[in-house]
Symmetry: none
DNA sequence: TGTTTATGAAAGAAAATGATTGAAATTGAT
DNA sequence: ATCAATTTCAATCATTTTCTTTCATAAACA
């Protein structure tokens, strides 16, 4: 492999990915890390990229740093605690469905696993995934302005192309009779479909959602594992008959 | 093997491959590496190629896709003129496909028509459409980070659900032999499909795109009306045989 | 025949590569 | 905040590959 050839490959990778690790490049070009380091130094002199610790970043584009986010992890509120735990469930190579919603959005910064593929119907999720350099797919469909979720027939069809190792679904109501519910029937429909296409199902919901029921039914309580922050021990016993609940401790 | 004969072969190889090794050329021409080195030195003097350690590189950098930033900085005013005219073509109740890209993005603020439905594969477009309160659908698919366009099988399937009154497509090359082209084959594929599903097709491209051809073929020149800012009258006559061009005046 | 031109081979110079080392940065836990 | 463990980095060296230069040979041409 010629030097110039590698340089082209590196720049191509950067077009696709914003940030690439040295290991990835070395693997893609069949050369040693030493060589890639030399390549990066040279390309940086030519202003073709910016070197960062562990790899290279494409020039002219901003990116948010991870470490700051992680440091503030100490002061996590409930949502972030749940999100952090949820992210820890994701393993290298997983294919994930990430529901639209604020709690699911919080999961993204905490994802540590490599080579993860995420499918989502949430517009806000996409931007966050992009900044983390995570391989991202969208369902497509009609945009619901209020929640910035994609819904409808288009989203349903888009969703059906994929199968997931794990899915993370947000809900508005968890009720021992009504099951899992959310206000919009269209959104409920998409959530339900994602659940059926996933090996493992995780429901993310803070404790305020318990004993609530809203308009549209998604699925029964036993459809998946509920991740939440803290629950009355009474409540817990009621629900643990019907489903699996993981309480994330501070 | 004659000298000139070898030279032709070398240049042909470079058209196919961007970079060729000396060994490869020596093998293809049945001559020694010394001879090929002499050939390369000579061809470099004639500016026909660039020598690199171990081989030769083609001198044109057509495959280099300019990043969104660079592009948008360069031809901003031209783009806006084109965009404004394009937006004026949209009528009440129209269903529109809006390609991902900077020129198509500029169209959105100028849309005056009511009750318009827009389908797009561009992430940036969605945000802009949302702020304008326009009914928005996405194709879905795989996110290409650099251009923030959704591509691949998912985008293709998503696209097929809709038919359009009009579509607006951005291209990187307009060439009387190569037709309409763009650097990424995946994006080309989506653009092509959108064109076939649309009643009226508009190609938006500033004048710098004329007589350029890039890697991936989209469709022939006569697939639609080309909207551009200004063209040499010579150029215009050449192209007007093959297609319809609307030059937007300041 | 003698001159020019192209070719291939060989030798030493230059460049590129991969491995190794201690230094520096990052991370996670206390 | 501080410390220890891990990862990544720059510098260096030996090895390999490629380049330039030079030379000898062979073909082309007058």
């Amino acid at each position: 492999m010629l030097t110039e050839e590698r340089h082209l490959i590196i720049l191509q990778l950067l077009k696709e990915k914003e940030i690439v690790k040295i290991q990835e490049i070395a693997e893609a070009t069949n050369s040693s890390e030493s060589t890639i380091r030399r390549d990066l130094s040279q390309l940086e002199l030519e202003k073709k990229l910016k070197r960062v610790h562990g790899g290279a970043a494409s020039v002219s584009q901003k990116r948010n740093e991870l470490s700051m986010m992680e440091k503030s992890a100490r002061f996590l509120n409930e949502k972030k605690r749940i999100a952090k735990y949820a992210a820890s469930l994701i393993q290298d190579g997983d294919c994930i469905y990430l529901d639209a919603g604020t709690t699911t959005l919080e999961i993204i910064p905490f994802i540590k696993a490599n080579d993860v593929t995420v499918v989502t119907n949430g517009l806000t999720n996409v931007e966050s995934l992009l900044s983390r350099g995570i391989q991202t797919y969208m369902t497509g469909g009609m945009l619901k302005p209020k929640t910035k979720a994609f819904i409808g027939r288009g989203a349903w069809l888009g969703l059906q192309q994929y199968n997931f190792d794990k899915c993370f679904i947000g809900v508005n109501g968890i009720h021992y009779e009504s099951g899992l519910t959310t206000p919009d029937p269209e959104e409920a429909f998409i959530k339900k479909q994602a659940i059926t296409q996933s090996q493992e199902v995780f429901i993310v919901a803070d404790s305020s959602k318990f004993n609530q029921s809203t308009f549209a039914y998604i699925a029964s309580l036993k459809s998946g594992t509920i991740l939440t922050d803290e629950v009355d021990s009474e409540l817990l016993t009621v629900y643990q008959d019907q489903t699996t609940i993981k309480v994330v401790n501070p």
